[in-house]
């Protein structure tokens, strides 16, 4: 294992993860809002924001799927050392990380069951850009309407039709993060 896998985690886990979680919770509760999170220095191609999300939410109880270019030795070792999360394929994961093209098709991920809709995957989507423009979002958590630069629209519309089942998304870019739960209407 290279020594870079041993660095770049939280230096003060309790406080840093508390700050990160609050921003992630605000993002999930208010779809389309942008938040900055920091505290991790991960190996490429993992962004800082995606790394903080993984450090805050993942441990040995959460199977993680590394999609496409994300599935490299550097990221595998870093994630293993800092979270201990087991790696798995898309069909059994709780969290998946990757770019939008690498993550597809969405039908591969667990969407929960009608009795346990919470047993669904959360996809962490690494985006080349992330800002408050593009697709229009409405639904719970949004007062009137919000805007977010989504990689596409149709996939999120069909995900919405699965409610209460479905996938939840966290979009990351550098230190930035936004979220899109299954309840949001996208147009």
């Amino acid at each position: 294992m290279q020594s870079e896998a041993l660095t770049g985690g939280f230096t003060d886990p309790a406080v840093q993860s508390a700050h990160a979680f609050r921003r992630m919770m605000e993002a999930m509760a208010r779809p389309g809002t942008l938040h900055e999170i920091s505290g991790a220095e991960p190996p490429a191609p993992l962004s800082r924001a995606a790394a903080v999300v993984l450090l805050t939410l993942c441990d040995t109880d959460t199977p993680v799927y590394l999609a496409g270019a994300m599935d490299c030795t550097a990221v595998r070792n870093w994630l293993a050392f800092h979270t201990g999360a087991p790696l798995t394929g898309p069909s059994r994961c709780m969290f998946a990380v990757g770019t939008w093209p690498d993550l597809g098709p969405l039908s591969a991920y667990p969407i929960g069951t009608s009795e346990y809709p919470d047993r669904s995957a959360t996809l962490i989507v690494e985006c080349p850009e992330l800002d408050a423009s593009g697709a229009t979002l409405t639904g719970p958590g949004i007062k009137d309407a919000a805007a977010l630069s989504l990689p596409e629209i149709e996939a999120f519309q069909s995900n919405r039709t699965l409610f209460p089942l479905g996938l939840d998304f966290i979009f990351t870019n550098g230190r930035r993060l936004a979220a899109l739960p299954r309840t949001t209407e996208v147009s």
Binding site: P13, P140, G141, D168, R182
Partner: protein
């Protein structure tokens, strides 16, 4: 302070609770199972709310706890002290100064703002539990959206009492999908649940469930066209501050049937009195 991890719980427990909170926000009104821990207080004293608060608090937060609206009761004082000692957070009794408010059975009178978080202590999270004791069945009923039984219960209220007599823990439907128990808040508070600017989180420790309402979520109290929902309160003004729009507690003051009505929200009542409002029994 240094004897505890920040906010008492270990990090793995907090991650588990945080994952449950995020799924709860993504599926408003659905009860997410979580592995509730033993807390240094008995079940029924807010162990669910305490665990949710511990998972969301940051050192910069200002924390308020109310029990039936009051900042001064044993439950509120002990939970406030618990987080002062284990998280080192500032505490307050002023609603507008608080960033996280843990509550037992009330929503503060003062409207909450964006950035605030309201954490409810929930004894029985399952609204159908007293109608159907089996968890396997209630889970199936939620999955099939089979809520006829709840309407039958409200109808029985009408046939027995002439009106819907359910006065607290009044069932609501969230975003047209899940029927949810808003915890034993008086039905007076039900209209505040929907379209609230703050995030609402519900924690049931003994029953091991977390659920949530994101801001600006549609929450409808169940009713009938000919018996519409009505938010009720005692037909009095507060004896201390004169408020006519707040939820009132009835207090017995002597052995001769004497009684007074006072705001259940102690902060609301005190700030009104400080602003010069006076009720009929004000000193």
């Amino acid at each position: 302070m240094s004897a505890y991890n920040f906010a008492y719980l270990d990090e793995q427990t907090k991650r588990m609770i945080r994952r449950a909170i995020l799924k709860g926000l993504a599926i408003p009104g659905y009860q997410v199972p979580f592995a509730s821990r033993e807390m240094p207080m008995p079940y029924g004293w807010g162990t669910g709310g305490v665990q949710v608060s511990a998972a969301v608090l940051t050192p910069e937060d200002t924390f308020k706890v109310i029990d039936q609206g009051s900042d001064d009761t044993t439950n509120a004082v002990s939970i406030r002290t618990f987080f002062e000692r284990t998280a080192g957070v500032e505490t307050t009794t002023t609603t507008s100064d608080a960033s996280v408010i843990q509550t037992r059975h009330r929503i503060p009178e003062e409207p909450l703002q964006e950035g605030q978080i309201l954490v409810y202590q929930v004894p029985i999270p399952e609204p159908l539990r007293f109608l159907e004791p089996r968890e396997s069945e209630t889970r199936k009923m939620h999955s099939l959206e089979e809520y006829g039984l709840m309407h039958v219960k409200l109808y029985e209220d009408i046939s027995c009492h002439g009106h819907i007599a359910t006065a607290y823990a009044y069932p609501v439907k969230v975003e047209g999908r899940y029927v949810m128990d808003p915890s034993p808040i008086p039905k007076f508070d039900n209209p505040k649940l929907g379209d609230m600017a703050a995030i609402q989180l519900f924690g049931a420790g003994r029953e091991q469930r977390i659920y949530a309402l994101p801001p600006y979520t549609e929450v409808v109290s169940l009713d009938f066209e000919d018996h519409p929902f009505e938010a009720s309160k005692a037909e009095h003004a507060c004896s201390l501050c004169g408020a006519e729009d707040s939820y009132l507690d009835e207090v017995i003051i002597d052995d001769a049937g004497g009684r007074m009505f006072v705001c259940s929200d102690s902060d609301y009542c005190e700030s009104r009195q400080a602003a010069g409002h006076k009720g009929k029994d004000a000193a």
